[in-house]
Each structure stands twice: as structure tokens, then as C-alpha cells.
């Protein structure tokens, strides 16, 4: 790497395009990220509320299922309650 070529004078149009698109990309990235994270926060809130309702339903179903199982086991083991 003894003699490197002389630096090229890049045309200003190309430099303008590069830097312009770079800053445009940064701005677009920040803008889009903000928009998506706000949407996701709203969805997360709704899911949280649904989770409370869903957990209740699941607990109820589990209780019913376990009671049914206990009855079956009792009938199999011959214990009359």
C-alpha cells in the first residue's frame, strides 16, 4: 500500500444524494419506529385487559375439569360418595 491513488473528486450530486438519503433514512427510521412502538403499546394494553378475563375463564374451566376427573376416579376406584 505504498502509493495509493489520488483522492477522487466525487461529484456534488452524488454526495448530495448519499448524505441526503442517509439523513432521510435516519428520519424515516425514527419516525416509523415511533409509529410502530405506539401501535404496539396500544395492542399490549388491550391484551393485558383481555389477559385478566382470559385467566378467569381458564381457572374456571380448570376447576370444572379437575372436579370431573375426581368424580371419574372415585367411580373407578369404587368409592361411592
Amino acid at each position: 500500500m505504498a502509493d495509493l491513488a489520488a483522492p477522487v473528486r466525487v461529484s456534488p450530486l452524488i454526495r448530495f444524494g448519499r448524505w441526503g438519503l442517509l439523513s432521510a433514512g435516519i428520519l424515516y427510521g425514527m419516525f416509523h419506529q415511533g409509529r410502530l412502538s405506539r401501535k404496539e403499546a396500544a395492542i399490549r394494553e388491550i391484551e393485558l385487559k383481555q389477559k385478566a378475563i382470559r385467566d378467569e375463564k381458564l381457572a374456571k374451566e380448570k376447576k370444572l375439569a379437575s372436579e370431573r376427573e375426581i368424580k371419574e376416579l372415585e367411580s373407578l376406584a369404587g368409592i361411592k360418595s
Partner: protein, 99 residues
């Protein structure tokens, strides 16, 4: 391990000392090739854009040699790719958005 810890600062100093001239060469090229366009270049930029538009309108682009067209395509693709680099910087995540 103790040898690594004791030699650590010495190695870092050697790395910095060796990187300095290389960094200077990089700066030498960057000052000519990578600087953002100054306001003095605006007329040149307008002329360039005008040339592209008239070239596209008059159909002169059909007369360019394939080699030049290929080079123009490469430069255009590189300039467009900077937009995606900027987007990665803006969203602070390399692949995809982290919500």
C-alpha cells in the same frame, strides 16, 4: 492470563500508534470524497439533476455505452442503499423494528 493483563495497555498503545498514520490516510481521502455538499455546490447539483432529466426526456440514455450504463446503475444502487443504512440507524436495530 496475567501476562495478557499486564501486556494489555502496551498492546493498546501499539495498536493506537500503528493506527494513527492509517487513520491520517483515511482522513486525507475522506476530506475530498466524503464531505457533505456545501451550499456552493448547489448550482452544480441543479445542473446535474437537469442533465439527468433532459437526458431521460430526449432519449439520450439509449445512446450511452453499456459500460457507462452499468457504472451508473452501480452508483445509483449504492446511493439508494444509504437510505436503508440510515433507516437502520434511525430504528436503532439492524434487522427489523424492535417494538
Amino acid at each position: 492470563m496475567s501476562k495478557l493483563a499486564s501486556q494489555g495497555p502496551v498492546l493498546v498503545k501499539k495498536l493506537l500508534a500503528e493506527a494513527q498514520p492509517k487513520f491520517q490516510t483515511f482522513l486525507k481521502y475522506a476530506k475530498v470524497e466524503l464531505i457533505p455538499p456545501s451550499p456552493a455546490d448547489i448550482p452544480q447539483i441543479r445542473a446535474g439533476i437537469g442533465k439527468i432529466i433532459t437526458g431521460a426526456r430526449t432519449g439520450a440514455w439509449k445512446q450511452t455505452p453499456v459500460r457507462e450504463a452499468w457504472l451508473n446503475t452501480l452508483v445509483t444502487v449504492e446511493v439508494i442503499c444509504w437510505f436503508f443504512v440510515g433507516e437502520c440507524i434511525g430504528k436503532r436495530h439492524i434487522v427489523g423494528y424492535k417494538v
